[in-house]
Each structure stands twice: as structure tokens, then as C-alpha cells.
């Protein structure tokens, strides 16, 4: 330890500024000098405890010494050396305590500083990170937003079914770029026509042109030539545009590989704005392509289907697609306008079971077209069944049925057959008549000559007379036969019904041989105007039918009578009569109850049409106890 003594405060003051002390001892002589020094000592050496030794100290001085200079100890003079040392010891202890505290303080403040620096740099890093994260977050959300928009766009497109709606959606999307024109879609489906879909004055419009021009194969600002085509077509200038080719994969496949389309968007974007727009369009090119492709295909399919439908509807014949259970799958208008759709035999023929002659089972079995004839409501249909093969090498489950109404053709055919038959009979009869008439003429004439020569009262004369009568009768029969079998084109004439019947009956002798014939003819002198041979045919038919209806020997009654300006011919038999369900249909063409091959079914329908041709009617009723009666009513007509 080193103790430095200085005699005066002034001397010691200088020392305060240059050296460090562990404790400062001041012996106060007099005056404020000591206090002043201690204040300075506190200033310069704060951790050196200060001790003031004075002879006398007022309370005032002590207070000031503590307040101003923070004096550690006051000691009263005189004092022992031990006391001094003790105090000094204590002061030194204090000092060393201060010293170590100040060292500690310094250390801790240093460490504090270090901590602060660290915190600071950490904060910087955090801030940087945060910024970075914020930035990438923003980017992400932008990207997400963009994708969301794209997804929404795709979703919107997916639910649209018209060009108008799809272009409408694109149009709405494009608005955010401003300076945008409405999109124009141009497409071709093979063939020379180019179609344009556009909004003109806000209205969606389709136009077309036959002018051909190349569609660009990549998205681009179009060539001047392309722009010129657009401008020419729409009759207005196209300043700046952007075209995007669209791939029509499905439609191309459907129309045979030649579908192509472009989308043209007018704009007035600057070069700087073009970038985002091009990105925007390239994002949307594929979904747009797909949506437009789909709609185009749908349109084509519906046009196609509509055309098919109209084709089938335009056909004269009923057509129906029928499945294995005879259910009508589809049918044309001609089929549906007449019939409800269930099973074909229920709806078409109103039957409970498949029609007789239906070719459907055979067509399904063989897988080959078949045809057959069915009868529905007195009409005859030729049914052509074409199997529908949806998959190769499989059995058909559907057939297309075409129902051709051949009623008229068949009726004509059978009438022709009838007429040919009658013609053949006529010719035969003519030939026979000629062959018979010659010898008959000679026979009768010779008999007449012999009669002239024979004695009138002998047996010879009577015999010759009988021969003459027989030849005369034979001649009449031949004449009747000739008249009966004349062709259709005979003139009408005034005749009595009685005569027609008398002419006809001899030809029915064989049919009538089992039955009793009663004839009541009461219209002598009352004329009708008819073609006699046709009326003969009708009467012949009715009597012949009546004879056939009577299985047991019966009675046939033929009556003619007058009734209020009409002539009635009644033909009545004692057969079983006609059941009601048959009665309804007996005058329908082709209706027959006879066995296959035993009648054309044309007899009564032809009889009806013949009688109606003469201005008359033919009707039927059953009679008691059993039997049927046909009544022909013809107007009475007399020659002028």
C-alpha cells in the first residue's frame, strides 16, 4: 500500500486528476476548503471512500459533507493511530467492495451490450425472414388466385352448352384487361364454309363465308392477310388482334378429321400489357378448346340426330325400333301419331300377342332382314324387319320395322286377278259358246225344218218340238254365260231385277242341288239401271255363299220387291247365320272365314263396291230361328 500525503487541498487536487486512489483522507483545518476538495474527490474518484478528520464539526457541516461529497466517515481530532487505521481499513474494504462492484458492473454492462447487439442482429434476421415470407406468401396467394380463377373458368365452361355462353364467359374474363374487343370464333368442319360466331352490337350472331383462308397454327398476332379476311367479312376495320388456334379433337374425329377453329380477340393493349394477356390466354387455351370442341360436337350431333329424326318423320310408312320383347324403343312420327308406345303389337295392332306373320323373331334369330305380312284393322302391312347390330359379332337385340301399307296394292292385285279370272272365263265361255252355238243353231234350225215337214198330230212332231225347246234353252244358257263373263267395260242398261236373277239361277244349279229354292219375283216392269253382268256376279256370289253356309240341306229364298222407289233383292238362307264379331267386318276387303286358299275375301267387299257404284246399298241381318239375309237395295230407274 502506498500512502501519499499532501499538505494542502490545492496540491492534492492536482493529484486527483492524475492518479487513482483507494481512499482519500482529509484533515480539515478550517474553512470550506476541505468540503470543496471532497466534492471534487467524489467527482474524480467516486469509488474511493472519503474520510474527513476534523476537530470540531457542526451538524451543518456533516449534513453538507454527506449530501454533497458523500463522506464515508467523520472522525474527531485528536484520535489514536489505531482508530485511524481501523477507519482506513474499513474505508479500504469499502473501496475494494466498490471496486469489485464496479468491475462487475462493467462486465455486466459489456455483456448487456453484447446481448443487445445479438438481439439487434436477430431482429434484423427475423425482419428479413418475415419480409421474405410475406413476399412469397403474396406470390403464392397470387398464384393461387390465378389458379382459382382458372379453375372457376374451367368450371364455368364445363357447364355451358352453347357457344354464346362460352364466348360470354370469355368476354367477361377479358374485361379485366380493359381495351378489349369481343372474341370472335371462326371454325370450319371440312367443306368450303367458314363459320363466324361473334357479338354484333351485343347480340350473339352466327355468319358464314365461302372465302377460304388459312388458320394460323399457333397463338399469334395475326398476319395482315388474316386481319383483312376478318375485316372484309364483318365490314369494319380490325386494328389490332390476337388469334389463338383451338384444337377440335372430338369434332374433327366426328366430321372426318377436318375440323379447325381459331379465336380472334381484338385489343388495344400496349406491348407491356401484352405479356400478362398472352399468359392469360395460354392458360385458357386448352379449356376453351375443349369446351368449344364439346359444344361444337354436341351441335353437330344434335343437327345430325335432328336430321335423322326428320328423315324418318318424313317417311310415309310407320317405322319403329323394336326390342326382343317387342317393346317400341323409338319410332317415327307416322308411327307415334297413330299409336301409343308400348309393345308394338299392343300399340300398332291392339293385340294381346304378336301379330300373325310378324317377321321380328325370325329377323332376330337369323340376324338377317326379313319381311312378313300382318293385318291390322282391315289393312295389310308388309313389315320389313331389319336387325340392328350395335356391336360386331353380337346377336341383334333390336330391329327396325318398316310398315308398308300394301292394302291398296294387294286389293288392286286381287281385283286384277279377279278380273283376269273373269276375262279368262269370258274367253273360254266365248270359245265354248261359239263351238256350241254352231251345232245348236244347226240343230234347232234343222228341227224347225223337220217340224215344218212332220205331220202335226204325230208323236214325231211332239218329239221334235221337245228337241227344239231344249236347243232353245241351251242357247239361252250360253247367252247368259256369255253375258255373265263379259269384261268390266260393259255399258249400263235398264233391266229388271227379276231378269237378272232369272239369268243367274241356271248357273247355280250345282250349288243349289242340295237345297230347296224358293223364288218370289215381284218387280216385273220395274227397272233398275245397272251393268247386268256385274249385278249377276253379285247375286251369284251371294247365292253361292249362302249355299256354302248351309252345311245341311236347307232352304234358299230369293225375293225381289218394290219399296218406295227402290228395288229390293233379298237372299235368305237357313244356315247358322253370322256371328256378331264377323258381321262387323264382312264387308272389309280380305276378310274371310274360309280356309286359306278357298277365297280371296274380296267377294263381299267387291259386291259392296259394285252395288254402291249403282247408287245402291247392301246390308245384312241374321234371321230367326237361324240363317242370314242379305238385302240389296237399288234405286228404281226407268228409261226416259
Amino acid at each position: 500500500m502506498e500512502i501519499i500525503f499532501k499538505a494542502s487541498c490545492a496540491e492534492a487536487l492536482a493529484l486527483l486528476k492524475t492518479r487513482k486512489f483507494s481512499s482519500i483522507l482529509v484533515q480539515d483545518v478550517a474553512g470550506p476548503e476541505a468540503l470543496e476538495f471532497l466534492v471534487q474527490a467524489r467527482l474524480y474518484q467516486p469509488i474511493a471512500p472519503r474520510i474527513l478528520i476534523a476537530e470540531d464539526l457542526s451538524e451543518q457541516e456533516v449534513r453538507e459533507g454527506i449530501n454533497k461529497a458523500q463522506v464515508f466517515r467523520f472522525m474527531r481530532w485528536p484520535l489514536s493511530e489505531r482508530e485511524v487505521w481501523a477507519q482506513l481499513e474499513s474505508a479500504l474494504q469499502k473501496h475494494s467492495m466498490y471496486l469489485s462492484r464496479s468491475l462487475l458492473l462493467r462486465e455486466s454492462s459489456y455483456q448487456n451490450k453484447q446481448l443487445e447487439a445479438l438481439t439487434h442482429s436477430l431482429e434484423g434476421m427475423v425482419e428479413e425472414r418475415t419480409q421474405y415470407i410475406e413476399m412469397s406468401h403474396r406470390e403464392e396467394s397470387e398464384k393461387l388466385n390465378r389458379e382459382r380463377q382458372l379453375i372457376r373458368f374451367i368450371k364455368d365452361l364445363a357447364s355451358q352448352t352453347s357457344f354464346e355462353d362460352i364466348l360470354g364467359i370469355l368476354r367477361k374474363e377479358l374485361r379485366k384487361f380493359h381495351k378489349m374487343g369481343d372474341p370472335v370464333l371462326a371454325f370450319r368442319l371440312g367443306g368450303g364454309k367458314t363459320f363466324f360466331l361473334s357479338f354484333q352490337l351485343g347480340h350473339f350472331t352466327q355468319t358464314e363465308t365461302l372465302n377460304h383462308f388459312e388458320f394460323p397454327k399457333s397463338a399469334q398476332v395475326p398476319s395482315a392477310e388474316l386481319i383483312r379476311h376478318f375485316a372484309n367479312h364483318f365490314g369494319r376495320p380490325f386494328i389490332k388482334a390476337y388469334v389463338v388456334p383451338l384444337e377440335l379433337r372430338l369434332t374433327s374425329h366426328f366430321v372426318g378429321g377436318e375440323g379447325e377453329a381459331i379465336l380472334c380477340i381484338e385489343n388495344s393493349l400496349s406491348d407491356k400489357e401484352m405479356g400478362p394477356f398472352i399468359d392469360f390466354m395460354s392458360d385458357r387455351m386448352r379449356p376453351l378448346s375443349m369446351a368449344l370442341d364439346r359444344v361444337l360436337l354436341e351441335n353437330q350431333l344434335s343437327i345430325f340426330s335432328y336430321r335423322w329424326e326428320k328423315t324418318f318423320d318424313g317417311m310415309r310408312d310407320p317405322i319403329a325400333i323394336v326390342d326382343v320383347d317387342y317393346n317400341v324403343v323409338r319410332s317415327n312420327r307416322k308411327f307415334t301419331e297413330k299409336f301409343l308406345q308400348h309393345r308394338c303389337y299392343e300399340s300398332f295392332a291392339r293385340r294381346k300377342a304378336p301379330c300373325e306373320g310378324c317377321p321380328v323373331p325370325q329377323a332376330l334369330k337369323e340376324g338377317q332382314p326379313q319381311n312378313g305380312q300382318i293385318q291390322v284393322d282391315g289393312r295389310i302391312y308388309q313389315v320389313h324387319s331389319y336387325p340392328v347390330l350395335l356391336e360386331h359379332d353380337s346377336r341383334p337385340t333390336n330391329v327396325v320395322n318398316q310398315y308398308v301399307d300394301i292394302t291398296q296394292a294387294r286389293e288392286l292385285y286381287l281385283r286384277m286377278l279377279q278380273s283376269e279370272k273373269m276375262g279368262a272365263i269370258g274367253m273360254l265361255a266365248g270359245n265354248i259358246a261359239h263351238e256350241l252355238n254352231n251345232p245348236l243353231t244347226g240343230l234347232r234350225s234343222l228341227t224347225q225344218v223337220l217340224l215344218h215337214e212332220a205331220p202335226k198330230d204325230g208323236n214325231l212332231y211332239a218329239d221334235l218340238k221337245e228337241i227344239e225347246k231344249a236347243t232353245a234353252r241351251s242357247q239361252r244358257i250360253i247367252k247368259n254365260l256369255l253375258d255373265f263373263s263379259k269384261g268390266e267395260d260393259q255399258p249400263s242398261e235398264y233391266i229388271t231385277a227379276d231378269e237378272v236373277i232369272e239369268r243367274t239361277l241356271p248357273m247355280l244349279k250345282s250349288a243349289l242341288r242340295l237345297h230347296r229354292l224358293e223364288v218370289h219375283l215381284e218387280t216385273l216392269g220395274t227397272h233398275i239401271f245397272v251393268e247386268p253382268h256385274l249385278l249377276q256376279q253379285v247375286v251369284f256370289n251371294l247365292i253361292n255363299n249362302a249355299c256354302q253356309a248351309m252345311k245341311e240341306p236347307g232352304r234358299l229364298t230369293v225375293t225381289t220387291r218394290k219399296d218406295q222407289g227402290s228395288v229390293l233383292i233379298e237372299i235368305e238362307d237357313t244356315g247358322p247365320g253370322i256371328p256378331p264379331e264377323v258381321e262387323r267386318r264382312i264387308f272389309e276387303p280380305f276378310f274371310t272365314t274360309k280356309k286359306e286358299g278357298h277365297g280371296t275375301g274380296l267377294g263381299l267387299s267387291m259386291s259392296k263396291s259394285i252395288i254402291e257404284k249403282f247408287g245402291g246399298t247392301i246390308r245384312f241381318h241374321n234371321v230367326k230361328p237361324h240363317g242370314s239375309c242379305f238385302t240389296i237395295v237399288l234405286p228404281e230407274k226407268h228409261p226416259e
Partner: protein
């Protein structure tokens, strides 16, 4: 008066022939058109009964062959009344047409007498 009967039916020839002979006519018969034409040319009858349908030459063919050479009156006879009538017969150069079968042979003979008088 000479009457030629041309008909392939023997009974017609015989009946007509007997009836005419009974009235005092001179009668010759021919069995078909060919023979008839020959007799017509050689015998020069005043009246000819001519059937239409015959083997060989038909009545109209015989008429055509004879042409205007003959002064004979002609009565054409046919059982096929539909084919011929008075008008067509006269166009062919016949004077009368008689459809077969006859109702009364004496009416025919009367017609022949009237035609010749």
C-alpha cells in the same frame, strides 16, 4: 235362183239347204272357205250364206278374194256376235248380218227371199 251355203257346221248347211230347197231355191253347200270361194267363182250363185269363223279361209277373207267380181248378195253369219255386226259386215261387202244362233230358220229364209226380190 242359186244359193251357196258356206259353213263348216253340217247341221247349219243341211237345215238352211232344206229350208231353201223347200222354197224352190237351187242350193249348193261348201264345207269351208276355200271350197266356198271355188264354188262361188265357178257356179256364180245369186246369194251366199257365209259363216265368219271357218277352217282355211274365213268369211271376210273369202269376201276379200271375191272382191267386186261377184254380183251375188251375201248374208254373213256369226256366232261371235261381239266381233261383227251389220255395220262391219256391210263394210266388208256383205248385204246382211245374221247373228247365230238363229231363233227361227224360216225368218232367215224370209230375209233371203226379201233380199233377192
Amino acid at each position: 235362183m242359186k244359193v251357196l251355203i258356206v259353213d263348216d257346221e253340217v247341221l247349219v248347211r243341211r237345215s238352211l239347204g232344206r229350208a231353201l230347197k223347200g222354197k224352190g231355191f237351187e242350193v249348193m253347200e261348201a264345207v269351208d272357205g276355200t271350197e266356198g270361194l271355188q264354188v262361188w267363182k265357178t257356179w256364180q250363185p245369186d246369194l251366199v250364206f257365209l259363216d265368219v269363223l271357218m277352217p282355211g279361209l274365213t268369211g271376210p277373207e273369202v269376201l276379200k278374194e271375191v272382191g267386186s267380181d261377184s254380183k251375188a248378195k251375201v248374208i254373213l253369219m256369226s256366232a261371235f256376235s261381239g266381233e261383227h255386226n251389220m255395220q262391219t259386215a256391210q263394210q266388208m261387202g256383205a248385204d246382211l248380218f245374221v247373228p247365230k244362233p238363229f231363233e227361227d230358220i224360216f225368218a232367215i229364209v224370209k230375209m233371203a227371199e226379201d233380199l233377192l226380190s
